[in-house]
């Protein structure tokens, strides 16, 4: 039961982060108090994180805070997962497909699959937004956006 507490798992995560940071600080060299080294602040902050996260995890073991499952009870977590996956896909395809195609695909996906709106709205909004932002940034503000390494040979502008 105690192991199902969100506080316990949150504390455990930051405990690992703190230990890792302290270890990295140690490797970077602590130096001396007269001349602190590159790892001085990392090491001590890592230990501070370990201390706080341990107290949080212990609180979880004592039964403090909500259960892990309660955090997502009644939530539309599928939407969150879809948006994160869409963003990751966007990141990988951004330079390969270019800004306009990627943005268009992302907007259509979000407005069709994640939280659906009528196609009569989603299609024009996506088109206007993707092309409009591209035009303002690329042509007016002269910000270079990826053209798409896979398709740049086929686009005339």
């Amino acid at each position: 039961m105690m192991l199902r507490r969100a506080e316990f798992w949150g504390g455990l995560f930051w405990l690992a982060v703190g230990a890792f940071v302290a270890w990295q600080g140690w490797l970077l060299e602590l130096g001396t108090l007269r001349e602190p080294g590159s790892g001085f602040v990392f090491f001590w902050l890592g230990l501070i994180i370990v201390a706080f996260s341990t107290s949080i995890a212990i609180g979880g073991l004592r039964g403090e805070g909500p259960l892990l499952g309660d955090l997502w009870r009644g939530a539309r977590w599928r939407n969150v997962l879809l948006v994160v996956l869409a963003l990751i896909a966007f990141g990988f395809l951004f330079e390969r497909l270019g800004f306009v195609l990627c943005s268009l695909a992302l907007l259509l996906f979000l407005m069709t699959v994640v939280d659906p709106v009528r196609p009569t709205i989603s299609i024009p909004v996506s088109l206007i937004a993707a092309v409009g932002v591209w035009y303002v940034l690329e042509k007016m503000l002269l910000v270079q956006l990826p053209k798409g390494t896979w398709i740049e040979d086929y686009i005339p502008f």
Binding site: S38, I56, A129
Partner: protein, 502 residues
């Protein structure tokens, strides 16, 4: 005399047509993001940070400042009409503002919010103008120990004021410092936590981190809930408050203004805390406290004045000490740094046109806001009717574009996605992002001043306690850190956090 000459120079800068345009864009976008729930001034400013690169430093910073104080105005519209705070500082406006709207008095509620904001905004600019030069003279005497202790105090106050567990807030501040230190060591150029990635050698960018923690995380949190908006459907009517309304509001506006300005100077969540404090004071002072929560105009006038005055007060530590008191000011510091400027005690003498230009533009911006808010309420209501399912994909795309344009690197987009997921999980597990972001910005300065102090003192920590300013800051910080351990104070702090959540 110096002040008048400086202000004169400032108005020359502010009335430059291009700066007027930037000021207008800033307050307009500020009002818009204030009106729209789910996107706040932090997200908007991060999004527009790259745009400031195309103009002069003063233009960019005038626009960024406009977004901040504009959002304070805009937040009240959503609070009154939809019962959702457009941004955090308007939480308390929902209580009586929306009640007034439900009773057919949306107009006077919005009107007094705009008028009170205008009065408070103007007062805070005058005070900023008078206090900042004096404080800047004192700040010249600050050395590394004073700066270090002041930053520790700032982080302690913010951690104390955040909702929920203080251990979590302090943990977040420590994590923020570490993220801020990724990259080359400023003293000996040693790469730290770069994992042999070239993109990390220059450190992690402020924009992707802020956009992730605030923009993407906010969207992820919103889309997992069924957002329902209860927009007031009745006619808004005349915005001008009646004579009785004005009489009832005069005291709350005056008190809220002074209180907000003073709390705004302190590091931490000045605007939010001051609006709550103002509401509590007005309720206490009122001969009919039972009206509060039922549509008392004093409950709108006081808090709205307080949060706007606090927005002005927050500029003081940034402009005079170079230390941002909150996340929004941290972003403004980012804008200064992007342009090769360092706000601090020497800014008024080295870059007077920027300091006074910003101050003068705030006068102009406040008038623009009054003009913008009173007649354009109808338009903001239409904006509020836009469904979130159409807004969030667009906001997400703007986040990506803003992050990419700031560094021209897809790596930054991945940093934004990563911090977005982290921010979402942090919200779920009850960890606040604000201490992390402030510590992220202060981290390099904090480390630098700590190491310099230790080198100066030849390795003893006495240097932090033999200097009076440093000692006072550390004593207050220690008191704040110890306070939650005392049961009575812990209950009080938890109550403040609970009120803020409600």
């Amino acid at each position: 005399m110096d002040v008048i000459a400086g202000l004169g120079q400032g108005f020359l800068v502010a009335f430059d047509p291009i700066n007027l345009l930037y000021c207008f864009i800033g307050v307009f976008i500020g009002t818009l993001v204030g009106v729209l729930p789910g996107i706040g001034p932090v997200s908007a400013m991060s999004l527009l940070l790259p745009v400031t690169l195309s103009g002069t430093p003063e233009s960019g910073i005038i626009m960024m400042a406009g977004i901040y104080y504009g959002s304070m105005y805009g937040g009240s519209t959503t609070a009154v009409l939809v019962n959702i705070p457009g941004e955090a500082a308007s939480v308390v406006t929902c209580i009586d503002g929306h009640e007034m709207a439900k009773r057919g008095r949306a107009g006077p509620a919005l009107g007094i919010a705009a008028l009170g904001s205008f009065v408070a905004g103007t007062f805070s600019i005058v005070a900023l103008m008078l206090v900042a030069p004096m404080l800047a003279k004192v700040a010249v005497a600050f050395g590394p120990p004073e700066y270090f202790s002041l930053m520790v105090l700032g982080l302690s106050i913010l951690s104390f004021l955040t909702q929920g567990s203080m251990a979590k807030a302090l943990l977040m501040a420590a994590v923020g410092v570490i993220i801020g230190l990724v990259g080359l060591d400023q003293i000996n150029a040693m790469p730290r936590l770069t994992f042999d990635r070239l993109e990390l050698v220059d450190g992690i960018g402020l924009i992707p981190v802020v956009m992730g923690l605030f923009g993407v995380a906010e969207i992820l949190t919103n889309i997992e809930q069924q957002v329902r908006r209860d927009i007031v459907q009745s006619r808004i009517g005349s915005l001008w408050p009646s004579k009785a309304d004005l009489k009832a509001s005069a005291g709350p506006v005056a008190r809220g203004t002074v209180l907000g300005f003073l709390l705004g100077i302190l590091p931490g969540g000045g605007a939010v805390i001051s609006s709550f404090a103002s509401y509590a004071i007005e309720k206490k002072l009122s001969p009919t406290p039972e009206r509060f929560g039922q549509g008392a105009i004093e409950g709108v006038a006081g808090p709205e004045s307080a949060n706007n005055a606090a927005a002005g007060g927050a500029f003081i530590p940034l402009m005079t000490l170079g230390i941002p008191p909150n996340v929004v000011m941290a972003l403004l510091l980012g804008a200064f740094v992007i342009h090769g400027l360092q706000p601090g005690p020497l800014m008024m003498s080295q870059n007077p046109q920027i300091f006074w230009g910003i101050v003068a533009s705030m006068y102009v911006g406040n008038i623009m806001l009054l003009v913008l808010n009173m007649p354009l309420i109808g338009m903001w209501v239409q904006v509020l009717k836009a469904p979130y399912k159409i807004l969030f994909p667009l906001i997400l795309m703007f986040c990506i574009v803003g992050v990419f344009a700031s560094g021209n690197a897809v790596f930054d987009v991945f940093v934004m996605i990563g911090t977005g997921v982290l921010g979402y999980l942090m919200r779920k597990f009850g960890y606040e992002a604000a201490p992390l972001v402030l510590a992220f910005v202060l981290g390099p300065m904090l480390e630098n001043n700590l190491r310099k102090s230790l080198i100066l003192s030849e390795g003893t920590f006495d240097i932090f306690v033999v200097r009076p300013i440093s000692l006072v800051c550390l004593l207050i910080a220690a008191a704040l850190l110890v306070a939650p351990l005392l049961p009575a104070l812990r209950k009080k702090r938890e109550k403040v956090a609970l009120d803020a959540t409600d």
